[in-house]
Every structure is written in C-alpha cells, then in structure tokens.
C-alpha cells in the first residue's frame, strides 16, 4: 500500500488532468515524435543535449507502439519507482523494515514543496531522478565491490550524465564527498582504503566533465548567467558543508548537523519568506503553514544525526545541503529560486532518510506506530493543499486543452500570441510557434491570442514569472474582442 502511494503521487497530473505537468514535457514529447518520424537524433538544442528522457520516450514508443504521450507515463512512474532503491538504501543503512518505508512516503508527502510539480513532469531532471537515487544506493554497496557492482555503477553513472546536468552534479559531489570521507577514515585507521569509491568517483568525473564541458561550449549562450566564479563558490560551499560533517563529535560534527538544519530554514525562507525577488507576489506565511513546516522539520531532522555516521548518507548530506545553501548565495533573483527548487528535489531525499531514522527511534517506543502514522497522515494533509493548487495551477495542463488544440488547425503564417503554457504546448499539438505574450490592446491586426482557462482564472506565465490577468487581458477588453474560438478550456481572441 505504501509503495502504491509513492507510485501514485507522481502520476496524479496524468490521472487527474490527463496530461503531464509543466511545459517542458511537450518539448520532449515533440522531440521524441520527431525522432520517431525521422529516425535521426540531433544534438542541436538544449533539450537534446541531455538525451535520456528523449531516448526513453523513443525507445518505449517504438517498442510498444504507444504514442509518445502514452509513453510519457513512464517518466513519473520511474520517479515513483525510485521508492524501491530508496527502500533498499535505507535497509542498507541499517533501518528496520517498517522504518525503511517511511522515507519513500516522506518524499511523496513532503510539505516543503509540491513534489508533484517535479515528479509529475516529463523532464530531463525527472527521468534522471531515479538514477540518482539508484546511484546512491549502489554507492552504499561500494564497500565490497564486485564486477557486477562496477558495471551497474558505470551504466547508472553514464545514464545520469546523459540525464541531467544538475542531477549529475549532485552525484559528482556526493561521490567525491564519499571518497574523501573514506580517505579520511582510512587515514584514521577506521576503514580500509576506499578504493572502489575512489575509482567510481574518478570514473564518473571523466564523462561528467567532458559531457557538460562540451555542452557548455556548444550551448554557451544558454548559460550566460553562470560563470567560473559561481563554480568556485559552489565548491567553497560544498567544502564547508563537507567539513562540518567530518568530525564525529563536537559542536560542528555529524552529531550536530547545523548546516543541514539551516538548509531547511533557508528553503522555507526561499519558498515563503521573500528571500527572492520575484514577479509573483508570495502570500505571507500563515501560522498553520509554519506549523506544517515545523512538523516536517522535526520529523526529518531529529533523526538525521543518527544516520549521518553512515558514509553514503553523510556524503549525500554534504552535497545536497551545499546545493541548497548555494541557491540563495548565487543570487536573490528568479534563477536563484530555480536553483533552490532543483536543490530541494535532492535535499528531500536526505530529509526523507532522516525521517526514517526518526521513525525508527519512535517505533521503538510504546505507541510509536500511532505517532508515526499520525505524522504521516498529517503530512499528507499538509501537502495536499499544495498538491491541489499545483494540479490546478498555471504549470498544469489538461487533456481537454491538448485535445482542443489538436483539433484546431491554424493557417500558415498566422501570428499567434500566448503565454509560456501556450508556447510549450503549441509546437507539440499544432506545429506552430507562439510569438510571445502581448497585452490585448497591443495585438496586431490579424493576429490572435490563445487563452487557456488558467489564464483567465489565474493569470499568465511570462517565462517563469506570473503576470496578473489584468495586465494582459482585462475583462473589458476581453469582452470587446472578437472570439474565433470559445470553450470552457480554450479561447482564441482576435
């Protein structure tokens, strides 16, 4: 039952709305369709340079005969399936069976952010997620390496490198953190030399560096805001994070992971505390939301120190905490916020395992199962608001929208305006590109604007920034314009 919940949550957008979450999904499905049609795979664009998700869609479609939209169910399914290696990891870290189930649930029900917005999307990062968890699990088996282990590491590592840059960066840092802790432990005589992990880290470094460096050179313009200085800052934060977990005892040690706890506070500040300068106004945090965060924080962080004496978890902590800390230090604008969200996907795993250790401690007490069950149910309730909002938000698509757009053919050469949602969906459904977003009053003669239901109910997405509806299509202008198409989910205005 627990695994069915973890499988179900990522599939919610598809089950409830009939379409994957977020616009990137359409890009990848479009690419997959193109590859299936042409039989060739290009490496021209950003979304092609990390081809794992595209390969997955192409492979499944060609194998099963399903459409790419149907094949896309696989990605959220795989994210859900990452609960299995996570369970295995927790068992390897020493958690009993019941406690080892808690992390998988925690990941799905984390009130820190709406997990469904990540897991329910068909993106490079989502497709790489289960590989990241799998790699962590494999790393934990590195004490007694075998040929099979090395092959698994190589395959998973290679898949991760081709999967997503950020996920592979987290893996890269984690592997080296693990190797460094192992080296230090070997120097102290606590463990044998960590040859396997050292080899794994070194082997991973080569494709990771080469592939990402090559992509950076090719797509340089895509990363204009990241500089070498930022990488050095990230390394500095990572070193600091690694060091704070080095000692076994003391005020700065794995027993007192202050930095990991601070990362939680920074996450909350970043999401709800106005840490970032963003176009979309953020509602001030309420007492109830603070309560939800507090429960999640206590549940996940209380037991974390108990698990940090295990090398793999300590290494994962060093890397993921540094990614969370790096996000606000990089900058306090929208790209920094995006970095924070990305970091939370992997930091969430750390919190989840910490929750497992907390649950393990509670379950040893009388009535512990009741407390753990109540906490998890509370977390489900706490995360439900965010999930529901997300499923009905600007990032979510509906089957009706997709089918309606598919059913409309646009004249060639027509100028079409719409927000980011439309810009992503249109190329997939209609093979046409939107010309951006313009206020209605500035619409050119003969051009049209697409409005989806979330647009007239909630507003528009310009890039990843929210724009109020009144700024683009105020009610009076909307009523005064001609309607080429009008339905419950789509309006085309001229």
């Amino acid at each position: 039952m627990i695994f069915s919940i973890t499988f179900l949550v990522p599939l919610l957008p598809l089950l409830v709305r009939g379409a994957p979450f977020i616009g990137d999904s359409w890009v990848h499905m479009g690419l997959a369709r193109g590859v299936l049609a042409s039989g060739r795979y290009g490496l021209a664009s950003y979304n092609e340079r990390w081809p794992l998700v595209n390969f997955l869609l192409v492979f499944l479609s060609s194998l099963t005969g399903f459409s790419e939209l149907q094949a896309s169910w696989t990605v959220p399914l795989l994210v859900g399936l990452s609960a299995l290696p996570l369970y295995a990891l927790c068992r390897r870290l020493g958690l009993p069976r019941a406690s080892a189930l808690v992390p998988a649930l925690f990941v799905s029900l984390n009130p820190l952010y709406a997990y469904v917005t990540f897991s329910g999307a068909v993106m490079k990062e989502t497709s790489a997620f289960y590989l990241a968890v799998l790699l962590l699990h494999l790393a934990s088996m590195g004490k007694y390496p075998s040929v099979g282990w090395m092959i698994s590491m190589a395959v998973v590592g290679f898949g991760l490198v081709l999967g997503h840059h950020y996920a592979s960066l987290v893996a890269f840092l984690s592997l080296w953190a693990y190797a460094a802790y192992g080296l230090f432990g070997w120097l102290r005589g606590e463990n044998p030399p960590p040859k396997a992990i050292l080899y794994a880290a070194s082997a991973f470094t080569v494709p990771f560096s080469l592939w990402n460096w090559l992509n950076y050179l090719t797509l340089g313009a895509f990363f204009p805001i990241f500089e070498a200085s930022d990488i050095l800052l990230l390394l500095a934060v990572f070193t600091l994070s690694w060091f704070t977990l080095l000692a076994d005892r003391g005020i700065i040690s794995r027993r007192a992971p202050w930095l990991a706890s601070s990362a939680f506070i920074i996450s909350v500040l970043g999401l709800r505390g106005g840490l970032y300068i963003m176009a979309q106004p953020v509602e001030p945090i309420t007492v109830w939301e603070a309560r939800n965060y507090a429960v999640a924080a206590v549940f996940s962080l209380a037991g974390l120190s108990a698990g940090l004496d295990r090398g793999p978890l300590r290494a994962w902590a060093a890397s993921t905490v540094s990614m969370v800390l790096f996000a606000p230090l990089w900058g306090q604008t929208m790209p920094g916020f995006t970095l924070l969200i990305k970091a939370l996907h992997y930091y969430g795993i750390l919190l989840a395992v910490g929750a497992g250790f907390t649950a393990s401690w509670i379950l040893r007490r009388r009535g512990g199962w009741l407390i753990v069950a109540a906490t998890l149910i509370f977390m489900a309730y706490a995360s439900s608001t965010g999930t529901i909002l997300a499923l009905n938000g600007l990032g979510a698509y509906g089957r009706e929208e997709v089918e309606l757009l598919r059913g409309i053919s646009f004249s060639p050469g027509i100028k079409l305006y719409g927000d980011t949602r439309a810009a992503y969906l249109l190329p997939y459904t209609s093979n046409i590109t939107a010309s951006g977003l313009k206020p209605l009053r500035m619409l050119d003669e003969g051009s049209i604007m697409l409005l989806f239901r979330p647009n007239w109910e909630q507003g528009f997405l310009m890039g990843y920034d929210w724009v109020a509806r009144e700024a683009i299509a105020p009610e009076d202008q909307l009523m005064g314009r001609g309607r080429v198409y009008d339905s419950a989910h789509l309006r085309i205005i001229t």
């Binding site: 230090f184 120097l187 102290r188 005589g189 070498a228 200085s229 050095l232 800052l233 390394l235 500095a236 934060v237 990572f238 070193t239 600091l240 060091f243 840490l275 800390l325 606000p328 230090l329 990089w330 900058g331 306090q332």
Partner: protein, 324 residues
Amino acid sequence: MSLTASILSIASRGELKVGFMILTISLFTGLVVAVEAMAQSYARESAALREISRMAEVKVDTSPMGGAVRVYASTLDLEGRTLMILASEDPGSLINLEGARVEGGLPGDGELLVGLGLRTLAGEGVLKIMGLPLRVSGYISSPAHLASSIITTPETLRKIGLEATTLYYAKAPAGAEGVPMAEAPSSSSLVGAVTGEALSTLSILGHILTAMLAVTCAVQGYNSSQEGRRAFRVYSSLGASRRMMACSLIILSLTLSLAGVTLGYALGLAGSAIISSTLSLALGLPYVKPLAGVELLRWLGTSYALSSTALSIGLLKGYRVDGV
C-alpha cells in the same frame, strides 16, 4: 605503513595538534580569501556603476591637454565681494565650454565680460578694477556660477596686475586617460575614486593577513613539533633517519597547509557570501556576491606557499631543537 603515512595517520587522529594548525591556517586564509573575493567583486560592481554613470564632458587641469583652452584665473575683492577673473586668448571657446549665454560682445583688450550679478558695479558701462577703468563689452547671463565672474583677455589681466593660476579647459574625449583636477559631470570619476579608496584598504588588509599567516604558521609548526617529540623519538628508535623524518614532516606540512588553505578558501568565500546575503536581507543593502577569479587563486597560492614553508620551518626547527 611508511613513515609518512604513519605520521599522516597520527595527524588525522588529532595528534600533533594538527587540528589547531589547520584551523589557524584556515582562519587566516579565510580572511585573505574574503578580503580578496569581496575586493574583486566590488571592483566589478563599481566598473558596472561607472559605465552607467555619466561620462565627463569637460575637464579642467593645471597641465596642458590636447585642444585645451588656456585660462588664467585670479580673484579679487571689489566693494566687499569676491570676484573671479578669468583671462583667455580665446574667450569665445571658454564661453562655449562653460555653456554660457552672453548679452553683448566678447571682450577685447581693455574690455571685460561681466557676470550679471556684477551689473550694478558697472556704472555707465565701465568697471573700475584696481583703479583701471575698463569697458564692459557684455554680460554673462548664465550659468549662475559665472554671475560673480569676469572674463577678459590676458593682456588686460596683466594691466590689472593680478597674479593668476594657469588652468586648461578642454572637452573630455571618451576613454581619455589621466586624472585631471576636475571633470564634469564627475559621477564617473567619483565612482572610481570611491572604488580606489575601498580597494586600497582591502589590499593592505590582505597583505597584513598574509604576513600574519606566515608568522603564525611558523609558531604553530614549532609547537606542534614539541608536542610530538615523544612520537618522533619512537620513530627514531625504530630506525627512521633524520632525513626521512624531515621529509615526512615537510609532506605533513604540505598536507596540512593544503587542508588549511582549502578550508580557508571555503570559509572565506562561503562566509563572505553568507554575510553579504544576510546584510542584504536584514539591512536592505545590495547583495554583493564574492568573486573568485584568477587573482584569488594567486592569493591562495601565496597563502599555501607561505603557510607550508613557515610550517615546515617550524616543524623542522622544533624537531631539531629537541636534539632527536
């Protein structure tokens, strides 16, 4: 296990007071890194500020400049008022550079162009200066700062008999080098001046810190050797030669310095970023992200070289003094 590995192993267990050494090196290195990273970031931010500030259009200097108008400036007190007298061979160019508006004509020899504020002094179109009656050829109606000024020719100024300061007025060409006496608008040079002040401070701080790092490392190394003399005696009695011990100690100091400098780099860069971010949130100041560039790597290299050398000297000195 080799001698070096053995010593490293002892050190990693906290013997030989290495934790203390690493911490000291890292603290000082962190300070150096913080100073230099913020300095580089500040220099870049200021350069951006300089670009968006207005570039100078007019420059004034005491040294000749290409295309400059030479002006002789002097002051005198007349009827309780301080007046500025400017004499130029080309009063027309001076008027243009000042963007002045004139009613009347430009002054010739024996004539004056008078600021409007001095109109009441000029009776019947004649102004007496130092007993010399001079015809008023016109009045300067703007800008306001010329209201108490008189423009004339150098010959007239000579006749009046005032000592003058020679200045050169010119249009400021884009990208011109050099620091003139004044330029207008001066916002660009102001940004440059303030930047220079701050960078100078930060640079001196960095040098002081590096010097302190060397001294502290030498002392720490010496103390550490003293602390570990028992262990060194054991190694000696097991057959380790002085040369082997010395090599091992040097490798130890290189390793400790590397660890210290790495940690210091992390502390300095991350620490200054954290504090800058906190200041930004708490006090509404702009967030200045520390910049880690080539210059910083040079400082890190210097810190590493100094600390490892000083540590080696200290360790070897302490080892030798003990007479083992």
